[in-house]
Symmetry: C2
Subunit: 290 residues, 2 copies
């Protein structure tokens, strides 16, 4: 791309907003759209343009980044009336950085390519902290050439970018990631709950375990939240539950049973039913505190 | 301790043997005993003395290190006829570095103290690799003064030594550790199995996830074993199963339910029943490979 890149960002939630901020700070010409336009306000003073419709955003940029809440929202934004697919001009690059179902991703990539566009699935891990400081892990799927087109933008947002494979591979990796994150939270919750119930200081136990085979980012970050019994976001319980459910649907479509993932999904259901939907996913620990 | 320390080591299994080797390399005067004395042979040329009985070992040293397979063996060695407790001289320090049940540990510490001895529970994490290169994480429980007595020896064996609290606290931390290790292996197994079944390269997925919130020692070490589908020890499935069972018994005694730990224990039962008892615990992945 020779001309100065014009980027459009759709979705300014917990993750999208700090990612948009990083793009602006890097000098990217950015147009944004959000269902709730008020969320864009802090970006406008940094030079972002607010589009009044998805169609006008897509018409004015050469790259569209999606950072949306879930698969149905991505489908609506992409395929709805006056949606991205309807107005896409040839050579426009679409990068879906949310956690979207693999089957929908593969279909969407094919449809974008069929109208002359390019598509990369590039979901992320690393949470709000990673979005703010540009240290996200980015798992990308798509043709190598398209991945290379997306790479300069991804490098502004991520500390580690892996081209996993063909279209959908990024989302497959993200599904695996969300399974591992959710189940590791469950692992740390059961371990620390046992230590606390047995009369040890969970803060010292967490410190003692860090460095051995129990070491994980979850033990460090989410384990600390459990020890303090404070659950600042992070990622919501509802988001973790949604991602586990999506992974289970993918597994079911492949005839694969994931019993621990099912159990963990059911635990998040109980937690959400008890009123803790909007706490950080580390709050799974609350299920074990009698 | 002014005089040159004489140390006795009971138990020369997968972990005990390389730990004994490190003590010898550090210049410690070491006497060893093992149910199968042949296991000591490689140590004798390095200067270790082989005791012909537990009683003669205990009589000739001021510190006894136990590195035994499980709680019943520790009970037999400590309380059996001509066992450690029967022949212990005052001021002898007993350090149990195996994974022993918390209730038994507390009772044994009290009994050792009642005959004038000193007791530290100091179980480890880090596997054979950690034992060989002295990078074990050591979780210690006992009075501060006794912990300080044990510390110079522990520093030869471990890279990180934490005094968690009173007698039994080291074993509580180890129970938490084993729960987290077993369940994190389950987490990585379900995540990588999903990625493989969905058609992504699990090696690339493992690399893509490393650095994000799914990052763990287990993802790095055991995840690599899963990707290769090779299961060199490490730690045996039977050992992991035993430790999960022991943690569940501790939880039950406290009225705490750990459903994910129960599920993981059941999965190791299935794996062991299918003939994989002696593989490394990363072999849990085999349950998911159709």
């Amino acid at each position: 791309m020779q001309k100065k890149q014009a980027v459009g960002m759709i979705g300014l939630g917990l993750m999208g907003l700090p990612m948009a901020k990083r793009l602006l700070d890097a000098g990217i010409k950015l147009t944004v759209w959000n269902r709730t336009p008020e969320k864009a306000e802090s970006l406008l003073s940094d030079g972002a343009k607010l589009a009044d419709s998805i169609a006008s955003l897509v018409a004015s940029v050469d790259t569209v980044i999606l950072m949306l809440a879930n698969t149905p929202v991505v489908e609506a934004i992409m395929r709805g009336p006056a949606g991205v697919l309807e107005v896409l001009s040839p050579d426009t690059l679409v990068i879906d950085m949310g956690t979207t179902a693999v089957i929908n991703t593969k279909a969407m990539a094919a449809d974008v390519i069929s109208v002359g566009g390019k598509y990369v699935d590039a979901p992320v891990s690393g949470g709000v902290i990673g979005a703010e400081n540009g240290s996200l892990s980015i798992m990308a799927g798509g043709p190598a050439e398209t991945f290379n087109d997306a790479l300069p933008l991804l490098e502004i947002l991520g500390g580690k970018i892996t081209h996993v494979g063909d279209s959908g591979s990024g989302q497959i990796a993200k599904a695996a990631n969300q399974v591992i994150v959710g189940l590791t939270i469950g692992a740390v919750a059961e371990g620390l709950a046992l230590a606390a119930a047995a009369g040890a200081d969970p803060a010292r136990v967490r410190q003692a375990l860090d460095g051995g085979f129990a070491t994980s980012r979850i033990l460090q970050v989410h384990g600390e939240r459990m020890v303090r019994q404070e659950y600042p976001l992070g990622a919501r319980c509802t988001t973790q539950r949604k991602d586990l459910q999506q992974a289970l649907e993918l597994a079911e479509s492949l005839g694969l049973e994931l019993p621990t993932t099912e159990l963990c999904r059911d635990q998040y259901d109980r937690l959400i039913a008890s009123g803790d939907a909007d706490l950080d996913h580390a709050a799974l620990y609350k299920l074990y505190k009698a």
